[in-house]
Amino acid sequence: MDMPIYAEITLVVNGTGHRLSVDTRASLLDVLREDLGLTGSKKGCDHGQCGACTVLLDGRRANGCLALAVAHDGAEVVTVEGLAKDGRLSPLQEAFIEHDAFQCGYCTPGQLCSATGMLDEAEQGWPSAVTGDLGADTVLDDEEIRERMSGNLCRCGAYAGIVAAVRQAAQRREAAGT
């Protein structure tokens, strides 16, 4: 058996700095769950296909299962555990509760991190595959929300609630002008 190879890295996770020695093979997801005890991020497929592992990596949503921890030395990571501020759920998290946007909850941390990143992308005018006019401003209607959230699967089929919750969060964000 080949011996594992370790590397020293630093990560800032939900605002807290960590110095870690990681197996070069470890995914960011495994490090968050196994080394840091942050088990909110879930492992669904381990192949980038389900989105359950989605976290914010340097401000952008990314699949924790495909990101090697060692390749993201120095990164800032936000997980579902870091979405609430000062004990208050984020508007998106509140919308998920209001709209029954989950059943078993397994996909939910990934849905929340993905939607958080997606709302930022839309605000910055990023287009999607269903954006007809690539030059126009982004309007997050249901078709856009579905397309932009297509990297997150839900085995319970809570999609109707998820779309409604994301729509509400998007509208509130726009109304607040933030």
């Binding site: 070069t24 093979r25 495909l66 990101a67 992308e121 690539l134 297509s150």
Partner: protein, 326 residues
């Protein structure tokens, strides 16, 4: 997964020096890490090139683009100059993978992603591409989404990239830094047909590092269209990247490439030749599409792709013609 050493390249020269036997370049890892987990790739060392300063998109005065190899798929699709000048490129990137995969994935990694042939991805099965000489179970087995043109008895795989299809239609060039210096090759000469060496996806030599993609100016309406088995987040069955310039009911210029049909993005040169100077009618589009598809040799379970891609060509060109005429 086999243990591996990890090194972060600090410059192009450093990357080339670190790349020795058993080493593999790492971009975003969205394909490579997946294949390592499946036991398909077993590098002894990863040389991370995602942090090299190739993360800019430069618009040159003539309207051409120089896209850094480490630009993320997302940044490429979101770039205003790409969206305005080369919309089919932005559309092709957006048609691929998911928001979170595109944030990690790089341009070079996208070009060099491996086939999604189910036998290639299953290390317990024979596969000439993964294990030369072991056979090609796909030819008689599960091949409904594999090649209809340019395949060989040794391999019937398709190249899965959407972005590469648009780059093929655009006549992009690939800037490569190799052990013998820098060179630039047309994208048509990057990917290859399987012939009797299916283990070689591309013409790259060991150590070759892609540093940029150069895209000539376009100056006509363009569109990328993809057909897949679900509404989103699935690889193409077939796809079309097209650009069309019409004048007074006649085709003045055209670019066309097909995805999901071959081991490489398929530039439809014959259709393009048949279209230049032709009338812009549905019939002439159909006739021109059939010129290219005349060389198709579908397998038992993928003959459906021939009419599918033909209809997609006609529909996409018709849409562009209407837009150009209005």
């Amino acid at each position: 997964m086999r243990p591996f050493a990890y090194e972060r390249a600090t410059s192009v020269q450093d990357a080339l020096e670190r790349h020795s036997d058993g080493a593999v370049y790492l971009g975003g890892g969205t394909n490579l890490v997946d294949l390592m987990r499946l036991g398909v790739e077993e590098p002894a060392r990863l040389v991370d090139v995602a942090h090299l300063p190739h993360d800019q998109i430069e618009l040159r005065p003539d309207g051409s683009l120089v896209i850094g190899a480490a630009v993320s798929n997302s940044a490429l699709a979101a770039d205003r100059t790409v969206r305005e000048g080369h919309p089919m490129l932005a559309q092709a990137v957006l048609a691929g993978a998911s928001g979170q995969v595109r944030n990690l994935a790089t341009v070079a990694g996208n070009l060099l992603q491996r086939t999604r042939c189910p036998y290639f991805q299953d290390a317990s099965k024979p596969c000439n591409k993964r294990d030369p000489g072991s056979g090609c179970p796909a030819r008689e087995g599960e091949h409904h989404n594999l090649a209809i043109m340019g395949h060989s008895p040794e391999c019937v795989a398709t190249h899965p990239s959407d972005m590469a299809v648009a780059l093929a239609a655009l006549g992009a060039s690939i800037r490569i830094q190799g052990r013998a210096g820098e060179r630039t090759i047309p994208i048509d000469e990057l990917h290859r047909l399987p012939e009797n060496e299916p283990e070689r996806d591309t013409t790259l030599e060991p150590g070759d590092l892609i540093t940029a993609v150069e895209v000539p100016p376009l100056g006509m309406p363009s569109r990328y269209r993809k057909v897949r088995e679900r509404a989103s987040f699935a690889f193409a069955l077939v796809s079309v990247a097209a650009a069309l310039d019409v004048d007074d009911g006649v085709v003045r210029d055209v670019r066309l490439a097909l995805g999901g049909v071959a081991h490489k993005p398929w530039r439809a040169w014959h259709t393009e030749d048949a279209l230049r100077g032709a009338e812009m009618t549905g019939e002439s589009f159909q006739r021109a599409a059939e010129v290219e598809l005349g060389v198709a040799e579908p397998l038992r379970d993928n003959a459906y792709k021939v009419p599918l891609v033909r209809n997609l060509i006609v529909r996409t060109l018709t849409e562009l013609a209407e837009r150009g005429a209005s």
